[in-house]
Symmetry: C2
Amino acid sequence: MTSPIRVTMTGGARGSWRVTRTNQVTGEGLAAVDRLAVVEDGGHDHVAAGRDGISWVLRGYTSNSRYTTAAETAELRAKQADLGRPEATLAALIPIRKSVEWWQLAQDERRAILAEQSRHISIGLEYLPGVARRLYHCRELGEPFDFLTWFEYPPSESGAFERLVDRLRASQEWRYVTRELDIRLIRDR
Amino acid sequence: MTSPIRVTMTGGARGSWRVTRTNQVTGEGLAAVDRLAVVEDGGHDHVAAGRDGISWVLRGYTSNSRYTTAAETAELRAKQADLGRPEATLAALIPIRKSVEWWQLAQDERRAILAEQSRHISIGLEYLPGVARRLYHCRELGEPFDFLTWFEYPPSESGAFERLVDRLRASQEWRYVTRELDIRLIRDR
């Protein structure tokens, strides 16, 4: 994944993902919606909340890795699954915002909290390839969140996914999370 | 600098910076222009090339630091000067694009090339506070460059600035630069 992929996610009446549950984990929520549409690479540049039954729009982009070492990257690439597997009918959209304190930390300080103390990278590795994952960045776009984290998994991995999310939320890194939603989805179109 | 600052730079007939020299260092150039306007935080969201005498538009945003350690960050903050000093009447806009190979490297590999091998951070420190600097990111915006690097300095620092640029261009890191322009400017409005 070398070229950044732009994404537009719309919450509303349309989309191939049906919302099964929305958990307002930390901070302000978003309006409850029936469906989520995910469109890549500018296909939805024109969409806006308040039209076509759309309640909210979130935008982001993939980027280069920010924390993983060469060894970790090799392990991730060897184990991880692509998005869009037919059997991965469940998904989670977890938008996250982190505090000013987090963003004022230097690179080595953020890496120490995320990787060494919180084991974010190694915990994530344990759940591959069952849980496929993609990270979209959005802090610099003036969006309400800093990241849109996206997960896809088959029903057989539901229990594992709950453990993954619980472990990350219990980590040191999550002390810097000031806003978090957890939207669970099923692909039925 | 914790909240990202968005910037729009327009090359054309208007702007408080007059172009004194444009050096097409590597790869494709941009149309020659008389003036550059720099507007922050969405003030110029509506501008477009081909209107109001504008030949080209470049956009970017500041972000958190990506490579500097806590110790380096402290040294940078202690030494660096703000933009907009009255005596800093000269500026350079150096837009840069890096190769696919660069962006495929892991965080530790990029840090090793940029900091340990190329001494980018420590070389930059030597020229503070005379040369003030700001880095705008734009790779994820679908822009023609990955970074817009911006420097401001008084005429007395011109020689030092040339040495800074020469040293960076001679570094290992610059082997990954596939497109680079160097636009020199004087503030006369």
